[in-house]
């Protein structure tokens, strides 16, 4: 069932270089064409690669909302990296939030150097599952590597998002955005990434509504 909230607050999070900004732009573009008020907040500027990056997408049919949403008010969190998913659940999550996350970690420099410990994946999943309404976890990075397109990780995640049917969007809406945003020779592999993400959700053991 698609989320019916208005405004609908969507957060997309990940690490610089994972294609977060393109993803929020495509989702925003698709909703814009459906006549919604769309506001996208992007955080970038300093780290091109490797820093924490998240964007907010606020959708409404009533009025224009600002790019910053109140704490604890996300309806949907899409995480391209699991630690970043957890960070945003802590800030914006609530018991009605739906989470769709990649499970493949990008460890931080502080973890690599031994100052910090990367969260245990089982514990991370358990925390997200018990704090949120629904949680879907897929290894999107491995899927992207499997189709020889590591940078299509973001598109695998859009496929997963479509697969959950949480947003009133169809595959064709996203394909239209891909056609607008990517060179023609990159379309085929991105369509495949989309399909693989949808398939992964269909196969995944969904943590169902409590």
């Amino acid at each position: 069932m698609a989320i019916s909230a208005d405004p609908l607050n969507l957060v997309i999070t990940g690490v610089g270089g994972q294609g977060n900004i393109l993803l929020s732009g495509m989702l925003g573009g698709a909703f814009m064409k459906k006549g919604y008020y769309v506001t996208i907040g992007e955080t970038f500027g300093a780290a091109q690669r490797g820093g924490a990056v998240f964007s907010t997408v606020r959708l409404s049919q009533k009025r224009e909302y600002g790019p910053i949403m109140p704490d604890g008010k996300a309806h949907l969190i899409v995480g391209l990296e699991p630690l970043e998913t957890l960070r945003l659940v802590e800030k914006y999550g609530n018991s009605d939030t739906v989470v769709i996350s990649n499970t493949y970690p990008v460890v931080t420099a502080s973890v690599s150097s031994g100052q910090d410990t990367y969260p245990d994946m089982a514990e991370l999943k358990k925390a997200v599952e018990s704090l949120c309404k629904e949680a879907y976890f897929i290894d999107a990075t491995s899927i992207a590597l499997d189709i020889n397109a590591p940078i299509a990780l973001n598109i695998v995640m859009v496929g997963a998002l479509l697969g959950t049917k949480q947003l009133p969007l169809e595959v064709e809406d996203i394909k239209a955005e891909l056609r607008e945003n990517l060179p023609p020779d990159r379309l085929e592999v991105n369509f495949e990434a989309l399909a693989r993400g949808m398939k992964a959700i269909a196969e995944s053991k969904q943590f169902s509504e409590k």
């Binding site: 732009g25 780290a47 600002g66 910053i68 949403m69 609530n94 502080s110 358990k126």
Partner: protein
């Protein structure tokens, strides 16, 4: 990035705040656009440069913001419409000029000039949270601050009209959450501008002699103030006589709307959104304050609006004196970015409402479950970044020198050395061009018993922006100093803008490449060049220069930004992998502890180093430096 000249008049588009400003300039007939890159203002010029040829306009990356503003100013004298855009810090560089313009006027050729300054509350990509609105007041420039994307376009146009009519420049204040957010914008008519440039030989533009010109300017501002009292950019919404009046500007508007909606206070709280901030529409403000119980001012950065609201209310001698809440009363923060939660907190305090975004039990559960699991992810140099190698090599030279050399750094990707993911050998870090000048000062202290070698460092784009005068000063005044230019062939941090040594202009025309080496030699420096990836040779060369007491030495560390190289060559240099047999894992940890590259990490499963797919740039630096030769780099066909 949308093609701004192809947008259909009357249609709606999802535009970034910066793109909306650029489109507004085009609709106003802008013909000359100049800027120096600076987050969050960069995309204004980027999007204009992208269509410059099609639109028949001039768009350039200037050496710095002062040069950009002065060039734009002169073209306004010829009757053209012109825009100069910059970030908060850039305003300081252009300040000298801005204070003159409106005294001298733009003449009577109906030229017009808009200056856009994008502030960065929260310092997402800046050294400070400077609120530049005061600069507009100092310069007596009409100041507008958009509260949404449509206003970014509309206000740009309004300022161009005002500028042409009053023959003074207009000031548009942007900020991060406008500049780098996207929203719906209905675009207006665009027609290719074709004004012919001509300078009236009988005219002289100068603020000299200032007092009578200042008197004339103040008179103009009084006239503009009257316009602003009725401006459609100052909008009230809410009950006729609200218990609380929120006066807000910019990002304060969406935050206030969210807060009122969240708390269900629509019947009790009204919002007066101000878009024209200087000259301040005092009468409008007083008329609303009079009708309200209390007033709360919501704005980002300094209490600019708040100060003027208080002054307006004091002038009006209202009785009883209304209560004006905001930063001064502790209801709003001086520090950081505005957000809905800050306004919610203020409204709760004023109305005595209890609000928690999440139930206390849920919050407790969250604390239990997530607890300390979330670790921070600091800024780091990209995988393959030449600066990682440069700072590793410089750090080794500093350690081995034995005299505690001092490193004065500058603004660019190399700034990140000062952050936890860098090597943190930086000692002084302020602003563009500062590193060279500061090191030059330290290089003068031998007579005071100072024996520590001085090192100044900057990037290639920064070199042209502000370091050259400091370089010349050091040579002229006989400073004993070593300079390092980190030449990665691009203005990287702001997103790959070309500069004076790139050989390309903002509009991709081929141009001369200014030779940094020749320039330094011409002014009398000893110059050496190294590839920083040869870390041993770089360390040795720097140590040699530090021992050379004969004046100004320049070491150019030249290697292309990896992201730029990848864009151009579209393939990795090597195939890189870890030989887990040879890797000593945590007994060593050189690659992930010392180099701290996001492309390689400790793998808890194997206890060895592991390449991070999609992030690793396969540059081979870790392979070159691995003490166990456990990282393999293979040439690609």
């Amino acid at each position: 990035m949308p093609n701004l000249v192809k947008l259909a008049s009357g249609s709606e588009y999802l535009l970034q705040g910066n793109e909306a400003i650029a489109r507004g300039a085009l609709e106003s007939g802008v013909q000359y656009c100049a800027a120096y890159p600076g987050t969050p203002s960069t995309e204004i010029l980027t999007s204009l440069a992208a269509i410059a040829k099609e639109a028949g306009i001039h768009a350039e990356w200037s050496s710095n913001e002062k040069v950009a503003t002065e060039a734009a100013l002169a073209t306004a004298y010829t009757g053209l419409r012109t825009i100069s855009s910059m970030k908060n810090a850039g305003l300081n560089v252009a300040m000298d000029t801005l204070q003159h313009i409106n005294l001298a006027t733009l003449g009577d050729r109906k030229g017009a000039m808009v200056v856009v300054v994008a502030d960065d509350p929260q310092s997402h990509a800046s050294g400070d949270e400077e609120d530049t609105r005061w600069a507009a007041q100092m310069a007596n420039a009409p100041l507008m601050e958009p509260a949404n994307f449509q206003e970014a376009l509309d206000m740009t146009k309004a300022l161009f009209e005002l500028s042409a009519e009053f023959s003074i420049f207009g000031y548009l204040r942007g900020y991060t959450r406008l500049a780098h957010s996207r929203g719906k914008v209905k675009v207006g008519d665009y027609k290719k501008a074709d004004t012919k440039a001509w300078f009236d030989r009988s005219k002289m533009f100068t603020p000299y002699i200032a007092p009578p010109k200042r008197a004339a300017l103040i008179k103009k501002m009084a006239e503009i103030r009257e316009r602003f009292e009725d401006s459609p950019f100052n909008i009230y919404q809410g009950p006729e006589k609200p218990e609380l009046l929120i006066i807000c500007s910019g990002s304060g508007m969406p935050s206030s709307l969210d807060a009122i909606e969240e708390l269900g206070l629509g019947d009790r709280v009204g919002i007066l959104k101000l878009g024209t901030l200087w000259p301040f529409p005092a009468r409008t403000v007083v008329s609303h304050v009079q009708k309200a119980g209390k007033t709360l001012v919501v704005e980002e950065s300094d209490p600019f609006v708040e100060t003027h609201v208080k002054a307006a209310v004091a002038d009006a001698r209202l009785s009883p004196a209304p209560e004006i809440l905001g930063k001064g009363s502790g209801h709003q923060d001086y520090v950081g970015e505005n957000n809905p939660d800050r306004v919610i907190a203020a409204l709760c305090r004023i109305f005595g409402i209890e609000y928690q975004s999440r139930e206390p039990e849920y919050q407790e559960k969250m604390n239990d479950l997530i607890g300390k699991m979330v670790v921070s992810r600091g800024l780091a140099w990209c995988p393959g970044c030449p600066h990682r190698a440069s700072f590793y090599a410089i750090g080794n030279a500093i350690k081995r020198d034995g005299r505690d050399p001092i490193l004065a750094s500058d603004i660019g990707c190399y700034t990140m050395d000062a952050f936890p993911a860098g090597t943190q050998i930086t000692n002084i870090l302020h602003c563009m061009g500062g590193g060279f000048a500061e090191a030059g000062g330290l290089g003068q202290l031998a007579q005071f018993g100072f024996t520590q070698p001085a090192i100044g460092i900057c990037g290639d784009s920064t070199f042209f922006h502000g370091a050259i005068p400091a370089l010349i000063n050091a040579v002229y005044n006989k400073s004993n100093v070593t300079y390092i230019v980190l030449d990665n062939a691009i203005t990287a941090m702001t997103g790959f803008q070309p500069h004076a040594a790139s050989g390309r202009t903002a509009t991709q025309d081929v141009t001369s490449q200014i030779d940094i080496e020749a320039l330094c030699k011409t002014v009398g420096c000893r110059v050496e060049i190294q590839d920083p990836f040869d870390t041993k040779a770089t360390t040795a060369k720097l140590m040699e220069l530090l021992k050379d007491d004969n004046g100004v030495k320049v070491l150019i560390l030249r290697r292309k930004c990896e992201l730029l190289r990848m864009r151009q060559e579209k393939k990795h240099l090597y195939k890189v992998y870890v030989d887990t047999e040879k890797c000593k894992g945590d007994k060593c940890g050189f690659c992930y502890r010392i180099l701290r590259c996001p492309g390689i990490a400790y793998d808890a499963e194997t206890g060895k180093a592991k390449i991070q797919p999609a992030l690793c740039a396969e540059c081979g630096l870790c392979a070159d430096l691995c003490p166990s030769k456990a990282i393999v780099k293979e040439e690609r066909a």
